[in-house]
């Protein structure tokens, strides 16, 4: 396998992780939420001070929950990929 094929394989794995496997994600509170609930400061959480386009990893404007979640995952991965790739290009140029 050449390098570009390997990179494509890796990207496919990443997209599968985010779009398929993320549906099996546990909905139990995470470590910090768990501690916050147990110690009684969970209610200190305020509304986010800025509105983001896809709170809780789903787009509000897509009605179907599943599709919304998949779309948000793909958008997120693409955003990270492009930002990382762009930054790396910039850094290499220097």
């Amino acid at each position: 396998m050449n390098k570009s094929k390997k990179i494509i394989v890796l990207l496919v794995v990443i997209f599968i992780l985010a779009t398929v496997l993320s549906f099996f994600s546990s909905s139990l509170p995470d470590g910090l939420e768990f501690v916050a609930e147990k110690l009684g400061f969970a209610e200190k959480e305020t509304q986010a001070i800025v509105n983001s386009p896809a709170p809780d990893y789903s787009f509000g404007f897509i009605k179907d929950g599943t599709i919304s979640k998949i779309a948000a995952s793909i958008a997120g991965i693409t955003a990270v990929l492009l930002a990382g790739w762009g930054l790396e290009k910039l850094l290499r140029k220097k």
């Binding site: 995952s73 997120g76 790396e88």
Partner: protein, 212 residues
């Protein structure tokens, strides 16, 4: 352990944000050196992997869950500075696009995970890098302690925000994150080994690839 808006006091999040802005700019400058080889565009790909993996929470004992932090994995694949840049990038996008972690807490979250997590992983991997036989041990311990160290930093910030007494919040955070750290270690080892198999040419920081 993404801290939301409202948890941290101004006296905590403002200094944390200033420290993180400074550290991120240092990391960007320093990571220039690690990018000298032309192997693969790793910053984008590894960051995207970490982002995807962070979407998958695994349950741990006692009614809580955790997900991969990715600090030790990033250090093993890219060195500490680039790893910090990578984790910061993931945290910024999670915060701005997905409201995962508050904007006021972003500096603290970057400090905890992208610096405390990354550099604790780095020092442990460095400690074990003298012998290739200790590769797995280094990966396992660095993954475990990166999560525990990041949660410790987080609990200190919670304490200084007057959310809970020190002797309550610190042990509570550490115990939960010790459990999550075990998951982190297992996932990191498996992923690291697989990536090394797929990309034998990747120049892994701290370890000589041939010795693996």
């Amino acid at each position: 352990m993404h801290i939301p808006d409202g948890f941290l006091k101004n006296e905590v999040w403002i200094p944390a944000a200033c420290v993180s802005i400074t550290l991120v700019s240092i990391a960007i400058k320093k990571s220039n050196n690690t990018l000298s080889d032309k192997s693969i565009p790793r910053l984008g790909i590894i960051s995207a992997f970490i982002f995807a993996a962070q979407m998958i929470n695994f349950p741990v004992a006692g009614g809580t869950s955790g997900h991969l932090l990715g600090a030790a994995l990033a250090v093993a694949l890219m060195g500490p500075w680039l790893a910090s840049v990578s984790l910061s990038l993931v945290l910024i996008i999670q915060c701005l696009i997905f409201q995962d972690g508050g904007l006021t807490a972003l500096g603290a979250n970057i400090f905890n995970m992208a610096f405390v997590g990354v550099f604790s992983a780095y020092f442990i991997q460095k400690l074990f890098s003298f012998s290739p036989k200790l590769l797995n041990t280094g990966i396992i311990l660095s993954s475990f302690f990166s999560v525990v160290a990041a949660s410790f930093a987080c609990s200190i910030e919670l304490y200084f925000s007057d959310l809970a007494p020190f002797n309550v919040v610190v042990p509570a955070m550490l115990i939960v994150h010790c459990l999550i750290g075990i998951g982190e270690a297992l996932i990191t080892l498996a992923v690291y080994k697989s990536i090394c198999k797929i990309f034998p040419e990747i120049n892994i920081f701290g370890y000589k690839q041939k010795a693996v």
